[in-house]
């Protein structure tokens, strides 16, 4: 009986297979579809595996875009970004988010990619708004120009791909892809294996590095999207070119096509719908670097005037007093970025603009422990905020110290990140008076390293770069002296 049942079962099984085989042979389309699907799946899995293992990952040493986005996701886990800045390289070299945050007491972050354009900016903003709720969004205007994302090649396309792959929201990436790339570039947008397969011939070192189990330890530092690229300003060779050849950038060449028009409008609407104040920001190039800027400005104005948003244009009127040659990259190329010095001046101007012109209910986070944890000791912090008493590295020498002709809010001795020298810094409340031509002399009782006490007169110079909103800052680098106390002080003005 059991044998019979077994036989019956076997027979059933056989006829099922026969039926199945019959189905497939009689329906070759099904057979082909199954085989093709299986085959494609195997190929896709192979690529996905290679991508996940990172065999063809590019060098991360210069991938600032990915670093920015990773840092953004990390930062927004515990913090809300109050001021979000978007744009291209002009922005991340021209604004210092740490200083901006330190001046205003907010969290600001730059989400900018090199060579990017307003479409990428729009989709980056959309993704960012899913994660954080900024009060102010600032769009740098160099990305608003004539371009066609579908015609990008090599350089700009590579940056565009980096920006795309750095974003993590799968759905928003899928939605944005057709607007950012032509179809032939879709595979490169998703897969490092497909994008960088050429490493097999051109960059074996990177392949070996990618396969090595040792992963570089990253310093856990607050990174808000700033990238210091240029430290020295314009030099004689370029200045001579301005005189002999004229300006390399012609404002009359600046035209707009449909893409920037449509996407600027989309950004305006997006901010409006989210109750966000929108500022358009134009960072300057050296005034001799552009001629006929008014045409450029006119074209841009036509576009930006359609919305009741703010436009802070530092190119015009141009601040000749502060934006000196030290503020600009030494180049005659079309793209001229700002130096570290220039960025500090621009940042303070932006902070002032936000504080004076924009009546937004920005949070004041200077007393929030989280904010202090993030920003204490970072760039621009001590120029705008007090040294904490419990700080063992940085020392307060005096507070509310009245001298012959001025009341000094704070004198402190700060450790420098590099070297043994220290920084002597004094802050005086900004009551609107102009102290930019003044210097502060302090009589200081010190003991040097060999412990012999002495009194020195030290001259502190006015810090034009950190001209904060609340304070005038005077500074001088000093040798590693043990400063005991401030004896006296006097403000000298020309």
């Amino acid at each position: 009986m059991a044998k019979k049942r077994k036989k019956k079962k076997h027979h059933k099984k056989q006829s099922f297979y026969k039926q199945k085989r019959g189905f497939l042979t009689e329906n070759p389309i099904s057979l082909i579809a199954i085989k093709a699907l299986l085959f494609v799946l195997m190929i896709v899995l192979m690529i996905v595996y290679s991508d996940m293992e990172g065999y063809f990952n590019p060098s991360q040493a210069n991938n600032h875009t990915e670093k920015k986005w990773n840092s953004f996701y990390e930062f927004t886990k515990n913090n809300n970004v109050d001021i979000l800045l978007l744009g291209n390289s002009h922005l991340y070299t021209g604004i210092n988010p740490k200083t901006l945050s330190a001046v205003l007491g907010v969290n600001s972050f730059i989400l900018a990619s090199p060579g990017t354009h307003i479409i990428d900016t729009y989709f980056s903003l959309k993704e960012a708004l899913k994660i954080t709720k900024p009060k102010i969004v600032i769009i740098e205007t160099y990305g608003i120009n004539q371009f066609n994302p579908y015609e990008f090649k090599k350089g700009p396309l590579s940056e565009q791909l980096k920006s795309f792959s750095a974003r993590k929201d799968f759905l928003s990436k899928i939605i944005s892809m057709p607007y950012l790339f032509k179809t032939d570039n879709y595979p490169y947008a998703w897969s490092n294996t497909l994008r960088n397969h050429g490493f097999l011939f051109s960059n074996q070192k990177q392949l070996i590095l990618n396969r090595s189990p040792k992963k570089r330890k990253r310093k856990k530092d607050l990174y808000l999207g700033r990238y210091v690229r240029f430290t020295s300003g314009l030099k004689k060779d370029i200045l001579k070119k301005y005189d002999s050849l004229g300006a390399p950038v012609k404002g009359s060449d600046y035209v707009l096509n449909e893409y920037p028009k449509v996407y600027t409008k989309k950004i305006i609407d997006l901010c409006k719908n989210n109750g966000i104040e929108l500022i358009f920001l134009t960072l300057p190039m050296y005034y001799k670097h552009i001629e006929n800027y008014s045409t450029w400005e006119k074209n841009l104005k036509k576009l930006l005037i359609e919305s009741p948003n703010y436009w802070l244009n530092m190119q015009s009127p141009y601040d000749t007093t502060n934006f000196t040659i030290s503020c600009f990259e030494n180049t005659y190329e079309l793209n001229q970025h700002m130096t570290y010095n220039g960025s500090l001046i621009a940042t303070n101007k932006l902070a002032k603009f936000i504080k004076n012109k924009l009546y937004v209910n920005l949070p004041y986070r200077k007393k929030e422990q989280n904010w202090i944890n993030n920003f204490y000791g970072q760039e621009g912090y001590f120029e705008n905020n007090p040294v904490l008493i419990k700080d063992k590295k940085n020392k307060i020498l005096a507070r509310n110290f009245a001298t012959n002709n001025v009341l000094i809010d704070e004198v402190s001795l700060l450790e420098q990140k590099k070297g043994k020298n220290k920084l002597l810094i004094a802050k005086i409340t900004n009551n609107g008076q102009d102290l930019s031509k003044c210097s502060l002399i302090l009589a200081i009782n010190t003991s040097s390293l060999d412990k012999k006490p002495a009194v020195y007169n030290i001259k502190l110079n006015y810090d034009k770069l950190h001209r904060g909103l609340d304070f005038h800052v005077f500074k001088i680098g000093v040798k590693p002296l043990e400063i005991m106390e401030i004896k006296a002080g006097k403000l000298f003005c020309n």
Partner: protein, 477 residues
């Protein structure tokens, strides 16, 4: 739409599925579907030029029937002339207008007469030379009573515009190809599999070999003033291989994709670099065009059945016209002329019977090298460029060979690929059933082989952001 694009990948998948599931049930519906997708395929480049195909198809359809019905020989001739004028008129205007105007102006100025030159900003419609020749063969065959015209408008339109071979051939004869639009064929697993395999081979040739060779060739030709002897030698040899792999890849993909939807296109290449004479070479290279010229130009001119002077003249005419077909420039005419002269002057020597293997190999190498040298005119923009390239052959070697877009590893890899592929062609020549052998292998071995080839294309293909130009060369004709 290019074959080597994502657009085509999406297009082809949709077409393949919808063709077999929805449209292979009714001939008319199937043909209309083929017309629409072919127009979509073509319109992806420039939809404006679709009008040329439509007009050309319409006129040839009507004239073909009129010629067949007409009994008066003069009227028949007149109708044929109308068809020729329309088709060659389009081709002449879009391809040769500026060339002829330029030559007239130069000729006049040579005679001391100043003329105002009227150059037009004309864009060459993709594939115009191919589909024009295809439709011409239709009316000429009807005129010569070799073929009966079709009454089925949709079949004819589908025949003219059939997307796999519309822009770069193979140039099909109506006699062989048009009847395929009259019938529905059941789905064939074997045909689809062989089609897909052929497409894969095409992609391999194009992406891995041709596009890699193009990096070196483009780089060398754009630096003609500075390249050294060795670079020039490699640029010339590499271009010969690039052209072969590029064009045969296109043909493979075209034939393969047609097969997947049940259509059979004729073979366009048959290991031409294994030819032991120039006439054999032309029987193996761009077969559909060579045979077109043979049937519609060489034989009507008298062919071989004439005095030796007349035969020589016929050969030269065919090759000069063939050069002109490729492009409106004197370089192409000279290229054609040189190849004609090769047949006239060298073939009598090469055709002497020496059947030893070494003799065959040395003849094949000689033919291929001579062909490669003639291609200098084909590849160069001007006469001056071509002569500079020849001059460069006699220079020493100061620069490093690997400065021209291929580094040492990639260069050696490329040479290895060429040797490998030529050995493979020899193997196929000796054992023509090798494909069957592969197909009959155990499925695990087969699938491993397929996966390896695809992986090889993905990892070793020359594509991506660093490759500026991956268009098929024959698109420009």
């Amino acid at each position: 739409m290019e074959f080597n694009s994502i657009d085509f990948g999406i297009f082809f998948t949709i077409v393949f599925i919808s063709y077999w599931i929805l449209f292979n049930k009714n001939i008319k519906q199937r043909n209309i579907f083929l017309i629409l997708i072919s127009y979509l395929f073509y319109g992806w480049w420039d939809w404006r030029f679709l009008s040329l195909i439509i007009i050309s198809s319409f006129i040839d359809f009507i004239i073909g029937n009129k010629i067949y019905e007409e009994t008066d020989k003069t009227k028949k001739k007149r109708l044929l002339l109308i068809s020729l004028s329309v088709n060659l008129g389009f081709l002449g205007f879009f391809k040769y207008f500026n060339f002829f105007i330029g030559n007239f102006v130069e000729a006049f100025s040579f005679l001391g007469l100043e003329t105002d030159s009227i150059y037009l900003n004309i864009i060459l419609p993709v594939g115009i030379s191919f589909y024009t020749f295809q439709t011409l063969s239709y009316t000429i065959d009807i005129y010569n009573k070799k073929f009966e015209p079709t009454k089925d408008l949709s079949a004819f339109f589908a025949f003219v515009s059939f997307f796999p071979q519309l822009v770069a051939g193979p140039i099909e004869r109506a006699k062989n190809f048009l009847p395929q639009f009259y019938e529905l064929r059941p789905i064939s697993y074997d045909l689809i599999r062989s089609g897909l395999l052929l497409m894969t081979l095409g992609f391999f040739k194009k992406i891995v070999i041709a596009d890699r060779l193009s990096l070196f060739v483009n780089s060398a030709y754009s630096d003609l003033q500075n390249i050294d002897g060795v670079v020039a030698i490699f640029a010339i040899i590499f271009f010969a291989f690039q052209l072969y792999f590029d064009f045969s890849a296109y043909s493979d993909i075209a034939i393969g994709s047609a097969r997947t939807i049940g259509f059979k296109l004729s073979k366009n290449f048959n290991s031409p670099y294994l030819s032991s004479s120039f006439s054999k070479f032309w029987n193996r290279w761009h077969i559909s065009l060579s045979s077109w010229f043979k049937d519609y130009l060489y034989i009507p001119l008298g062919g071989n059945r004439a005095s030796s002077i007349k035969v020589t003249q016929n050969i030269l005419v065919v090759f000069i016209v063939s050069g002109l077909w490729h492009g409106a420039s004197w370089n192409f005419i000279i290229w054609g002329l040189i190849n004609g002269l090769f047949i006239i002057l060298l073939d009598p020597i090469l055709n002497k019977r020496h059947n030893e293997l070494y003799s065959k190999i040395s003849k094949a190498i000689f033919v291929s090298l001579a062909w490669a040298l003639s291609l200098v005119f084909f590849r160069s923009q001007t006469f001056y460029d071509a002569f500079t390239m020849f001059e460069n052959l006699f220079k020493g070697n100061k620069n490093i060979l690997y400065n021209y877009s291929l580094n040492s590893i990639e260069f050696i890899f490329t040479i290895g690929l060429l040797i490998f592929y030529m050995l493979f062609e020899i193997l196929v020549e000796v054992y023509p059933n090798i494909y069957k052998l592969i197909i009959n292998m155990h499925f695990l071995i087969r699938w491993s082989l397929y996966l390896s080839i695809i992986s090889f294309i993905i990892l070793c293909g020359s594509y991506g952001l660093d490759v500026d130009d991956s268009n098929f060369i024959y698109f420009q004709f």
